[in-house]
């Protein structure tokens, strides 16, 4: 403070000296080493008056966080009169040479400075006596925004094109008013991921001192242009931000804030921002009955790219009240009103009529309750169900849940999720029951199968993009049982998911199975053991399958068509030990045992059967009357080729191949 007063005094002295000297001398030079004040310092100052012109030089000037070197002010023709000091065409040199004019009316005590750094561009400053001192008025006409670049914090995107027009008035009574219009503005950071183009904005702001604080209000309207702020892209639609509050040494207080976004809705907010800690110490945001579809499309969707929620049909309304403090997000109370989600392109899932509330709190135990009117999962219709989700910070637990699925149900138990440092961990176990295979296969677009489906899902854990199944997954289908053990799914949501498991099939009804595919009917039951099964992108790359007739007493019959098709599987090189005449007379044959072993590795299936019968092996061993034995001769078969054959055969279009 003391320092400041000193330089003020010295400047007055300099001016007086300068004026006095001008009267007597034709030439005059003044050097000052150092001048500093609150927020500014200048070093190496030299003023030269010669031949009616004046030159002022500053070696280094620091203003706030900015500093310049070698600033010059030159005025070739300084008009000095008793009432008026003026320079009509001077030059200010700060890196660039900028035309400057200034005048001081001594009688009215009005200082007028105008900078014209570009064509059609002027920045002028008028200092004149006001009610309690000097009023300051700044007028900007066609001011190029890029000139502000140096003043902005270095981590903000740099402004490019665009001009600003308007005025700022700062009264001696402490009142301030600003009306500014920005047009055609552009900004971008180096990565180009935070950028805007052709932006038109208008700002009307005012402030006035009140009880030791500054009471302020501002209204910002965005009327043109576009912004990309990774990952969100927004187009102007006359979005309007209205804010009012107070400002003091401690911080900024927003008492009433409103963001109006046409076609989406309005959000009200309030809060405190601490200047010391640069933190939002208390923030409240509230938006009521926001239509979900435009909210999803404009704001949420970019954040969900690459997830299964990236392309949805949405509907309904959402409301939210969010509270933030210096520790971060504190609570989020979300209400859904008839919200619907539908996987638009892949039709994997759909949920409709979701209503309820999710009152999440960072530090308290709360419970979300939602009802879902219906939906679809993998094209299978879902019935109405209710979700009760216990929430405690970033830990979530689901109460046992029954979702009606087709004519049966899906039970979800022990669902728990928590946020880890890098990804989410979740787990669940469940049951599927009472679903008729007819309806399931019809819904999935598979060949119609019969019987009912029941499955037990043991504890499934999701850890870092892999799913691990503890225990045995059990599926009841085709009147038998399928068991999967040691099930691991790696990279489950990636492009090439990997699955490893050991699978056992027990007592499957072959008639139910073969009736499904136009394979010809085989009556009987089979067991199978598939060891070391490895699927990549859901296609087998490795396994060791041993398929054999189940032990026990049951009818064993094989139809003529089935025999022909099994023979066809052997391909051109395979031969069936059957005679054409024999086939012609009988529709069905008896068998004693059938077996098929295939060890798949590196795309080659190494096959064998019930027993060896060199040079072949027995696939179907005859028994009863009339009996039939099928013998295979190819032991090594190319797996893709075998798959093609099975496809041809099961599609039923191929003519029976009997040689």
């Amino acid at each position: 403070m003391c320092r400041q007063r000193r330089w003020r005094g010295s400047v007055a002295a300099i001016v007086a000296l300068l004026l006095a000297a001008a009267g007597y001398a034709r030439q005059f030079t003044l050097d000052i080493d150092d001048v500093s004040g609150a927020g500014f310092s200048a070093r190496g100052i030299r003023a030269v008056y010669a031949n009616g012109g004046v030159g002022l030089q500053i070696g280094a000037l620091t203003l706030g966080t900015q500093s310049w070197k070698n600033i010059r002010l030159d005025c070739a023709a300084l008009s000095l009169a008793r009432e008026r000091i003026a320079c009509d065409d001077g030059w200010l040199t700060v890196a660039d040479k900028i035309p400057i004019s200034f005048s001081y009316e001594a009688g009215m005590r009005v200082l007028n400075v105008a900078l014209k750094p570009g064509k059609h561009e002027s920045w002028s400053l008028i200092l004149q006596p006001g009610a309690r001192g000097n009023d300051l008025v700044v007028r900007i006409d066609g001011g190029r925004i890029e000139r502000l670049a140096a003043w902005l914090p270095p981590d903000l995107p740099k402004p490019g094109a665009g001009v600003v027009n308007g005025g700022i008035r700062y009264g001696s009574d402490g009142r301030m008013a600003a009306t500014l219009a920005v047009s055609g503005a552009a900004f971008s950071d180096a990565s180009g991921l935070h950028a805007g183009e052709k932006i038109d904005l208008s700002l009307v702001a005012s402030a006035a001192p009140a009880a030791g604080r500054l009471r302020w209000a501002a209204e910002l309207t965005w009327s043109g242009g576009e912004v990309f702020w990774q990952p969100v892209y927004l187009k102007s639609a006359r979005q309007q931000l209205t804010v009012g509050g107070t400002l003091d040494a401690k911080g900024v207080r927003i008492e009433r804030g409103a963001l109006h976004y046409p076609d989406i809705g309005s959000m009200a907010f309030s809060g405190n921002y601490s200047i010391d800690t640069h933190k939002l110490t208390d923030g409240n945001f509230s938006a009521q009955s926001i239509p979900f579809a435009p909210l999803y499309q404009t704001i949420l969707r970019p954040f969900l790219a690459d997830s299964s929620l990236s392309d949805l049909h949405t509907g309904g309304k959402v409301s939210a009240v969010v509270r933030v403090d210096e520790r971060g997000l504190q609570s989020m109370d979300i209400r859904l009103d008839d919200v619907s989600l539908e996987d638009r392109t892949q039709h994997r899932f759909a949920l409709s009529g979701m209503s309820g509330s999710v009152p999440w709190h960072a530090r308290e135990q709360t419970q979300a309750s939602l009802t879902v009117a219906g939906g679809e999962l993998l094209k299978m219709p879902l019935g109405r169900f209710a979700i009760a989700l216990g929430m405690n910070g970033m830990r979530f637990e689901l109460k046992p849940l029954r979702v009606p699925l087709l004519d049966g149900y899906l039970d979800v138990r022990d669902f728990a999720a928590r946020a880890g440092s890098a990804s989410w961990y979740w787990q669940f176990s469940g049951d599927i029951g009472g679903i008729s295979m007819d309806r399931l296969t019809a819904a999935l677009g598979l060949p119609v199968m019969h019987g009912t489906l029941a499955a037990r899902i043991p504890l499934v854990r999701h850890i870092q993009s892999s799913l691990r199944v503890d225990g045995v997954m059990n599926l009841k289908v085709f009147d038998g049982e399928i068991e999967a053990k040691n099930l691991v799914l790696l990279d489950i949501f990636g492009k090439a998911p990997r699955v490893r498991a050991d699978v056992n099939l027990r007592n499957l009804d072959l008639e139910l199975l073969t009736r499904t595919y136009s394979f010809g009917t085989i009556t009987g039951r089979i067991d199978a053991h598939i060891g070391g099964l490895e699927l990549v992108n859901w296609q087998p790359v490795k396994f060791d399958v041993k398929l054999i007739s189940s032990p026990g007493d049951y009818p064993r019959k094989i139809s003529q068509a089935a025999v022909q098709n099994i023979s066809a599987l052997g391909g051109a090189g395979a031969a069936a030990a059957i005679q054409r005449s024999f086939l012609q007379f009988f529709e069905q044959f008896g068998y004693d045992k059938l077996a098929w072993n295939c060890k798949l590795e590196n795309g080659i299936c190494d096959m064998s059967g019930v027993e060896d019968r060199p040079p072949g092996y027995v696939l179907v061993k005859g028994g009863g009357i009339p009996a039939i034995t099928v013998i295979g001769y190819n032991r090594k078969v190319d797996w893709p080729e075998l798959l093609n054959r099975i496809k041809r055969v099961t599609q039923g279009n191929s003519p029976p191949i009997v040689k």
């Binding site: 971008s188 990309f228 970019p302 990636g494 492009k495 992108n537 790359v541």
Partner: protein, 145 residues
């Protein structure tokens, strides 16, 4: 007991001789296995994406990096409205590329080859890029082919 040990010795010796004799030529003329469903799935996904990436390579918005990835080297070449898409394409492509290198290494039972495979690919993507496309030189500078 002695007999058992001798039998064991002979057996192991035979197996090892067979392994030494059998393994060497098989490894020496190794051909990398790429006909797996995993490689096929990734290849198909990348091929589909290439239709969208090709104009970005041509405009110089996206370039081929020296480490076998792609990068958004000049976002200004992409209109703002498409910048998120371009950025997403680059991220998805790099994810697929990483999975492809890993998958090839895994399919050949040598997960430790992943880095070598990535380096080989990095060179080949650049060698086979069309003229006009940008790639990163060994020193990291962007070069127009």
């Amino acid at each position: 007991m002695m007999k058992l040990w001798r039998m064991f010795e002979t057996l192991v010796t035979m197996v090892m001789m067979a392994a030494v004799i059998g393994a060497s030529p098989a490894v020496a003329q190794a051909n990398l296995e790429i006909n797996t469903p995993g490689v096929a799935a990734l290849q198909a996904s990348m091929q589909k994406r290439h239709g969208e990436l090709a104009p970005l390579y041509a405009s110089g918005a996206v370039g081929l990096t020296r480490d076998g990835n792609v990068a958004l080297r000049d976002p200004a070449a992409v209109p703002l409205a498409q910048r998120a898409t371009a950025n997403g394409l680059v991220a998805a492509e790099n994810q697929d590329r990483a999975a492809l290198y890993r998958e090839i290494a895994r399919a050949n039972n040598h997960p430790e080859w992943e880095g070598d495979i990535r380096n080989t690919f990095a060179q080949r993507w650049i060698d086979r890029a069309q003229s006009g496309w940008y790639y990163q030189s060994a020193a990291g500078a962007w070069v127009r082919k």
